[in-house]
């Protein structure tokens, strides 16, 4: 017996007027969606703005959600469209360029980071991973983030990004190979 209701059930309950269902849904997806934006825009402020816009749009369009659609896919489709809008409005906004200060600021404390050696190691690994991610072409980075943060499969990535299945698969594979090479250097 599964105690946690699915996204589908929670969204149906929220459509019916249950605000508590939205709180559960929001708690599940807030981190992933936030990082999805944070890895692709230049600053934290922009990421927060886009993040809030997507949730506001979801709330406004909750009655148009069809139960046949996966909630994850719908949420990240809204996020992708908002990101594209942002790119179009600000031509200078390109791939995310993480600065060293930002990385230290962005990382929340984890269970192992209390140890100084682990903290130093983790900081180096995080910096290496963020650097590797930043070097990815934007389409590959988005495909990778949709998989990492949204938990989407290839088909869902294709649907959210509005591309074909093979293109999504190819983008994801290229991104993973590059990230694996970057990790090997710090393994």
């Amino acid at each position: 017996m599964n105690a946690d209701p699915s996204d589908h059930t929670l969204m149906l309950r929220y459509q019916a007027g249950d605000a508590a269902a939205f709180d559960l849904l929001y708690a599940r997806h807030r981190g992933g969606l936030y990082r999805y934006f944070l890895r692709q825009v230049k600053t934290r402020e922009i990421a927060e703005e886009l993040y809030q816009d997507v949730w506001t749009k979801l709330i406004a369009a909750r009655l148009s959600w069809q139960p046949s659609a996966q909630f994850n896919t719908w949420l990240y489709t809204l996020a992708h469209n908002r990101l594209i809008d942002h790119y179009r409005r600000d031509a200078r906004a390109r791939a995310v360029e993480f600065e060293s200060d930002d990385i230290e600021q962005l990382h929340a404390p984890a269970s192992r980071v209390d140890e100084p050696s682990v903290q130093a190691q983790s900081r180096e690994a995080a910096a290496a991973l963020q650097s590797a991610l930043a070097t990815l072409p934007a389409p590959q980075r988005e495909a990778f983030l949709l998989s990492l943060e949204g938990g989407l499969g290839v088909a869902e990535i294709a649907s959210s990004a509005g591309i074909g299945f093979e293109a999504a698969k190819s983008r994801l594979r290229y991104a993973l190979n590059k990230m694996r090479l970057a990790l090997k250097a710090y393994a």
Partner: protein, 270 residues
């Protein structure tokens, strides 16, 4: 993609960024507001019944207005023989047409509403004149049933050009139409129908020639119900005429009465 699982694990381990609590609060509050102010909760409850009622009222009003209001244009259809382009109508028909045109012309001078709403009826001579006179004047027309439907004269259709000699005929029929509403004595009726017969004789057509014997036989044998109806009143008129100074008219009227009522007893002093 199990081969890439270490990459995911490493990235998740080092990616703990989350939105600020202020944003979380703002988004949750927006979600609650949206739920509490459910779309159109009050509006939709009365919108559909209101719209249905409005449509119903508009429909009924439109139907009532259409029933009460006069038509914007008079009906253009016509089954009247005046619309038929006959080459040579008989004079009796011409007289009827001219009379109808005369009436239509008079009605056009009246207010527009009356002209539009009242159908122009073809005159029914048999309903106006007594039996002996009607038989002679309305030979071709009297065969038409009394309960014939009203004939609408097309207002825009020009009348067919009258044949030669129709001006005099038209003048006579106009005079006849003018006198029709006045109470008539039988002698006047007979003289009027005699004039119509004379007009018919002026421009004989094959149709009129065929109709003439029928009209004569009808004049000789008046309808019995009209004899019963008009004998007493006719005698009253004769009595009035006798007391007046117009002896010539009295004689003519008495002669006509005797022809119409040969078996009717006359007063002994006549």
């Amino acid at each position: 993609m199990s081969e890439f699982e270490p990459i995911y694990r490493a990235l998740r381990e080092h990616s703990r960024e989350e939105p600020s609590p202020e944003i979380d609060r703002a988004i949750r509050a927006a979600a609650r507001r949206a739920v509490n102010a459910r779309p159109g909760g009050i509006t939709r409850s009365w919108f559909q019944p209101m719209a249905a009622a409005a449509v119903l009222v508009l429909g009924v009003t439109t139907v009532l207005v259409m029933q009460k209001a006069p038509p914007t244009s008079p009906p253009a259809m016509s089954t009247a023989p005046a619309a038929e382009p006959t080459a040579g109508p008989p004079p009796a028909d011409m007289a009827e047409k001219a009379s109808a045109q005369n009436e239509a012309r008079e009605r056009k001078e009246e207010p527009i509403e009356y002209a539009e709403r009242v159908p122009i009826m073809q005159p029914k001579p048999q309903a106006v004149a007594p039996a002996p006179a009607a038989a002679a004047s309305a030979a071709p027309v009297s065969a038409a049933p009394v309960s014939a439907p009203p004939v609408y004269a097309p207002p825009a259709a020009p009348p067919p050009p009258p044949p030669p000699g129709a001006d005099q005929l038209l003048q006579r029929t106009q005079d006849a139409a003018a006198k029709r509403d006045q109470p008539m004595l039988p002698s006047e009726q007979s003289s009027r129908t005699g004039a119509s017969s004379a007009a018919a004789a002026e421009t004989p057509t094959p149709r009129a020639v065929e109709a003439a014997p029928m009209a004569a036989s009808r004049a000789a044998a008046p309808a019995p119900e009209r004899q019963l109806e008009s004998a007493e009143s006719w005698l009253d008129r004769l009595r009035a005429l006798k007391q007046s100074t117009d002896s010539t008219r009295y004689e003519a009227e008495l002669k006509a009465f005797k022809q119409a009522h040969p078996n009717h007893p006359l007063p002994t002093d006549w």
